[in-house]
């Protein structure tokens, strides 16, 4: 059982830092060979988990959910009411999505999601997070200078647009619903899903292009 003792775990971390090689590839190899030898996991299971995230779980899921919300007002209402439940229609519930909240961009509001204390992310809906989302720079700056951050992503917001930053401090996760672009009237949900980008669902992109990127 864990000790739940701060000083004890801090000491273990210092010891690991002292004794492990600096190359992270070697460190991961050491842990992998240890847990495989101990019989805690089969090597092939690791490959399979990687395949799962490479093939099945990614931002396409979130895009499908949002495209449906754009085309079905009733689903949009359910998504806004309880996104964690609404994504279960697709079987897309999973890692860190039980308490998901959808936040809607509008002409005068832009939403941006961050986790300043670790790197919480709705993995089951968006797949693995990009490195920048996990970086100190993004975590530090998104809450303090969201407009400067957005500008680095190429999003220039006017003073007439209010920014709402969501810092994922508890077990709620956030999914930004971008605005449906003009010129997509009559498009199918599949067509719409194809133009919804990962960054637009985090909030570091705003205007969607009509061509898939």
């Amino acid at each position: 059982m864990p000790s739940f003792d701060t000083k004890a775990i801090e000491k273990i971390h210092r010891d690991l830092h002292t004794h492990l090689p600096s190359d992270p590839a070697l460190r991961v190899k050491a842990l992998e060979s240890l847990v495989v030898e101990k019989g805690l996991v089969a090597q092939e299971s690791i490959d399979n988990w990687i395949e799962l995230y490479a093939e099945r779980i990614g931002p396409k899921r979130g895009a499908e959910v949002i495209a449906r919300a754009w085309t079905e007002p009733e689903y949009h209402a359910r998504l806004m009411e309880d996104a964690g439940q609404a994504v279960k229609d697709f079987g897309y519930e999973g890692h860190a999505t039980e308490h998901t909240k959808a936040v809607q961009n509008t002409a005068d509001t832009h939403n941006l999601v961050v986790c300043t204390l670790c790197s919480c992310y709705p993995f089951s809906l968006l797949g693995m997070s990009p490195i920048w989302y996990r970086s100190a720079a993004y975590r530090a700056r998104a809450v303090k200078e969201p407009r400067a951050v957005l500008a680095e992503f190429g999003v220039e917001l006017g003073a007439d647009v209010k920014v709402r930053v969501w810092d994922s401090t508890a077990e709620l996760r956030y999914l930004v619903i971008p605005e449906r672009p003009a010129g997509t009237e009559g498009w199918s949900a599949d067509q719409l899903a194809a133009i919804i980008t990962r960054d637009s669902m985090i909030g570091t992109a705003r205007d969607l292009a009509l061509e898939p990127s």
């Binding site: 050491a30 999973g94 530090a140």
Partner: protein, 215 residues
């Protein structure tokens, strides 16, 4: 606690690598899988996070994200008696175990789906705050793990949502799964930062009742 993880509003980190991918190296993918497939019994999500916060700060800030997870998995396992430091350093098990069945991709997907964990709980206590209530956050650093970031300490905000009671991170990190009422609190940027870009922008945080007092 005021550990290296508490990054909100901290300065001098420079530009964001906006084009960075999900992974730079293959070991990152493998560590991600290892963290999800091999868990140490009794480790709560909050103890996992708290353990990560106790890394030497210079290391926390300088190594890639999944290298931190690697160290944390080792540390949590050593702490709980699942491995020894020597085993982690050598990568060799003192005692070999029987190889477990392979988890197929479909089974991995089912595992992933099962990670949709409900953190809400029914509690007897009535919520202390209502929607629209002005609140002020605790000004002092927490003694242990906390999810009240330092940039929002001693700050005035407004309750914009109540989520019922959720398992409380601060006690969860000590293995005590009590629940407390959880709220989303909205703060004016101008109330958080003396040099806010736009004072009427807002930052919203999910905060448990013990962090809050009436303002």
């Amino acid at each position: 606690m005021d550990g290296p993880q508490d990054l909100g509003g901290k300065e001098s980190f420079g530009p964001i690598e906006v084009d960075s991918p999900e992974y730079r190296d293959d070991w990152e993918r493998r560590q991600w899988a290892l963290t999800k497939l091999v868990t140490t019994p009794g480790v709560t999500i909050d103890w996992f996070r708290h353990a990560l916060e106790t890394m030497p700060p210079a290391v926390y800030l300088s190594v890639p994200y999944f290298q931190k997870w690697n160290a944390n998995n080792m540390a949590l396992g050593i702490d709980a008696g699942a491995y020894t430091l020597a085993e982690c350093v050598s990568g060799k098990a003192a005692v070999r175990g029987a190889s477990p069945p392979v988890v197929s991709v479909d089974e991995c997907e089912a595992m992933q789906r099962a990670l949709s964990v409900d953190f809400s709980r029914e509690i007897d206590a009535q919520p202390a705050f209502q929607l629209g209530d002005p609140v002020v956050t605790d000004a002092r650093p927490s003694a242990g793990h906390t999810r009240l970031p330092s940039y929002a300490r001693g700050a005035r905000g407004k309750v914009i949502a109540h989520h019922g009671a959720h398992v409380f991170a601060d006690t969860g990190a000590r293995g005590d799964h009590r629940a407390e009422h959880l709220y989303t609190v909205e703060f004016r940027a101008g109330d958080l930062w003396s040099d806010a870009e736009a004072a009427e922008d807002v930052v919203c945080l999910d905060l448990w009742e013990p962090y809050l007092a009436s303002a």
